[in-house]
Amino acid sequence: MKYLDEFQDPALARRLLAEIEAAATRPWALMEVCGGQTHSIIRNGIDQLLPEQVELIHGPGCPVCVTPLDIIERALEIASRPDVVFCSFGDMLRVPGRDRDLFAVKAKGGDVRVVYSPLDAVAVAEAEPDRQVVFFGVGFETTAPANAMAVFQARARGLENFSMLVSHVLVPPAIETIMASPTSRVNGFLAAGHVCSVMGTGQYDPLAERYRVPIVVTGFEPLDVLDGIRRCVLQLEQGRSEVENAYPRAVSAEGNPVARAMLAEVFEVCDRSWRGIGLIPRSGWRLTAEFARFDAERRFDVGDLTVEEPSECRAGEVLQGMLRPDQCEWFGTTCTPRTPMGATMVSSEGACAAYHQYRRVAIPVSVRRG
C-alpha cells in the first residue's frame, strides 16, 4: 500500500522540524481539530519534538467524544429493545451512559452488532425484514456521506424496518465557537483533512478572514502533521491568515461534489449539543422532513430522554485548549479509560485517552538505544 512509509520518513521529518524551528520566533498555539490527528501526534511523539515556542492544543474533533450523553442513553434504550438489531461502529460500544455501555446491553441479550459501513446495516434490514434495524449515525462530515447513502438506499429499497439514530456534527461552527470565546488561546488551526475531502476548503475562508487566523488543511501521517504545523507557523510569522491546503492528495477546493449532493438531499443543518462544550447553533445535521420517518428517535419515541453531564468533569476546558489532559486533577486516578468521567477519556481519539495511553508514565530522557 502506498502513502504509509512515504509519510513517516524520519529524515524528511527532521527537515520539517528544522524548518519549523527556524521559522518560529515567538510562542504560537496551534489547534489540531481532528481526534485522528491528536492520536497521531501523541502516538508518534510529534509534540515532544517541536520547538518550545510551538504548542499544540487538542481540539474537539473526536466524534465519539462529543456525542452527548443524551444520545448515548437513547442508543442504550433503543438497543435494549427485543425487536431491535442495533448496528454501530466499534468504538461507540464502550462509551458509558449512566450505568452501562452497549457491550453491557449485548451481554444482557441485546442484539448489538459491530459493522464497518452503514450499508452493512441496510443489508441486515433487508435480510431480516421482521426486525427493526437501527444504525448509530455518529460523526463529522467525513462519515456523513455514507450514512446519508444508507438512508437513501433504505428508502429506495422500501426498507421501512431501517432507521438511523443521527448525531452528526460539523467542524466549522466548532472552530467559530472556539475563536469567539474570550478565553481562546488558539493562534492557528490544523483543519481536519478528511472532513475537507468531503466538504472542500471554501467553508473556512470566512472564518480565516473574520478571526484573522490561519487554517491549514492537514492530513494524519506524521509528515502530514509536521507540514501542516510548518505552514501554519510560517503564516503566523509572516502575518498571514489564509486557508491553505497541505493535504492536496486527498482534498480539493470543492471537495467531493457527489457526496455533497447526497448530503444536501438527506440531511439539513440543525442545532446540536456537543459533549463537553454545550449547545452550538447550526452545528449538526438531522434528517430532512422527507427522510424523517427513518429517524430512530421518532420511531422509538426516545427524543425526550435527557441526562446531566457530571459537573466535575473538565473535558470542556480540554476540548477548548484551556487545560492539558495531564493537568486535570482527575486524570489517571478517578478518571481512566475504564472509568471515564467525560468526553475526552472515552475514545482512543480523545485527548485525555491518548495521554493516558501513551503518556501515563513519565519516561526518562536517557533510554538505552536498541
Binding site: 460500544l93 457491550f103 451481554a107 479509560p337 472509568t339 501513551y358
Partner: protein, 341 residues
C-alpha cells in the same frame, strides 16, 4: 469482582487484554483460593515430578470464527496453540488431549476436515493426540464447534524459562512479522480486503525453541504472541518481572497488508493477534548466536532484535518512535474496536 457496567461477562473478558487479566486476578484466583496457590502467570505450569523430571502442563480453548481462514483452521490452531504454550517453558511437547463441543446440525464433513487438520498438525509438531471427549449442544447454542486441547511436555534438565528471569541488559527478540493471524481472520470474517491476501501465521514453535536452547541453555524468557499481540506480551512480562522494556518501533516487522488493514480500521498492529510468533529475552552475549539459529529455522527466519530490558521504569514498556520520540506502550482493554473514522 471485575468492575464492568452491568456486572456481566462481556466479550472483552475474552480479548486477552486488561479485562481478561482482571477476570483471572479478581475472580478466578480468589475463588479458587488455596487450590491455585501454585498457579503461575506463564503459558504453561511446570511441575517437578518424583525423580526430578519436570512436567509442563497447559490448556487452551479455541472458539475462532470462521472455522477455516486463510492460512489455517481451528483444528490446526488448537494443536499449535497448545504446543506453543508448552514450548514457551522450554518443554518438549509429548501429548495432547482434544475435547469438542459440537453444535447440533454441524456438517460431519466439516468436523472431519477439522479433525484431519488436527492429525496433520500433531504429526508436524511431533505430539500425540492421546485422549479426548465429545459433547453436543442444541442447535443455536454454539458456533459450529469449539475445541479445547490440553498438553503435557518434558522440560529438559537445566532449562529454566520464566518471566522473572528477565534482567536489565537482556536483548528482546521477535521471531518474525506480527499481526498476520488477526488481520487474516478479520478479513474473511468481515469480508474486508487490504490489497493482498494475508495468511495466518499459525505454526508450531517447539522446533524453533529447541534450536534456541541448543545454543543457549540459559534462555531467560519466552512468550508466544497470541491475543492482545506483542504489546500485551511485553506489558505482562515487564509487570511480572518488575523490569522496564524499551524497543524501537521501526524494528518491529509489520507486513504491509497488516499495516494497511490496521490503518484502515484504526487498529494498532502491536495489539493484533499472532499464532506462530514468540518474543525472547536473551543475555546480550548470547543474542547474536541465538538470532543466527532462529533465522535458520522456517518459523524464525525473519527474527529481529527489537530492544532491551532496562532497569528504568519497572513494569512499563516504552517505544521509541520512528521520529525519535518516546511513548508508553499499553495493552488493550478488551477487544480491539474499529474506529469511526
Amino acid at each position: 469482582m471485575p468492575v464492568h457496567p452491568g456486572g456481566q461477562v462481556v466479550m472483552g473478558h475474552g480479548g486477552g487484554g486488561l479485562l481478561s487479566a482482571e477476570l483471572v486476578e479478581q475472580l478466578f484466583l480468589p475463588a479458587f483460593g488455596n487450590a491455585a496457590a501454585t498457579a503461575t502467570p506463564t503459558d504453561s505450569a511446570v511441575m517437578a515430578l518424583p525423580g526430578g523430571t519436570r512436567l509442563a502442563f497447559t490448556t487452551d480453548s479455541y472458539v475462532v470464527q470462521p472455522l477455516f481462514f486463510p492460512g489455517g483452521d481451528i483444528g490446526e490452531l488448537a494443536v499449535f496453540g497448545t504446543v506453543n504454550d508448552l514450548a514457551m517453558s522450554g518443554a518438549t511437547p509429548l501429548a495432547l488431549s482434544s475435547a469438542f463441543v459440537l453444535e447440533e446440525g454441524l456438517e460431519l464433513d466439516v468436523l472431519g476436515a477439522v479433525a484431519a487438520s488436527m492429525g496433520r498438525a500433531a504429526l508436524r509438531a511431533g505430539v500425540g493426540l492421546v485422549t479426548g471427549d465429545t459433547k453436543v449442544v442444541e442447535h443455536g447454542h454454539g458456533d459450529g464447534l469449539y475445541v479445547t486441547t490440553a498438553g503435557v511436555g518434558i522440560v529438559p534438565a537445566g532449562v529454566d524459562i520464566r518471566p522473572d528471569r528477565a534482567v536489565p541488559g537482556d536483548v528482546v527478540i521477535v521471531s518474525g512479522p506480527i499481526g498476520m493471524h488477526g488481520i487474516a481472520v478479520l478479513s474473511v470474517r468481515e469480508g474486508l480486503e487490504f490489497g493482498t491476501e494475508i495468511l495466518s501465521d499459525t505454526a508450531p514453535l517447539a522446533g524453533l525453541v529447541a534450536a534456541m536452547l541448543g545454543v543457549d541453555r540459559d534462555l531467560h524468557v519466552l512468550r508466544d504472541l497470541t491475543r492482545g499481540g506483542l504489546a500485551t506480551s511485553l506489558c505482562e512480562l515487564a509487570a511480572t518481572a518488575g523490569v522496564g522494556i524499551v524497543f524501537e518501533e521501526q524494528r518491529v516487522p509489520v507486513p504491509e497488508a497488516v499495516r494497511a488493514g490496521c490503518g484502515f480500521l484504526g487498529l494498532d498492529p502491536l495489539h493484533v493477534a499472532n499464532e506462530g510468533k514468540l518474543v525472547a529475552f536473551v543475555s546480550a552475549d548470547r543474542a547474536e548466536q541465538v538470532l543466527d539459529v532462529m533465522r535458520a529455522t522456517p518459523e524464525g527466519r525473519d527474527s529481529v532484535v527489537i530492544g532491551h530490558v532496562v532497569d528504568d521504569h519497572p513494569g512499563v514498556v516504552v517505544a521509541r518512535t520512528a521520529l525519535g520520540a518516546t511513548r508508553v506502550v499499553d495493552r488493550p482493554l478488551g477487544e480491539q474496536l474499529p474506529r469511526i473514522c
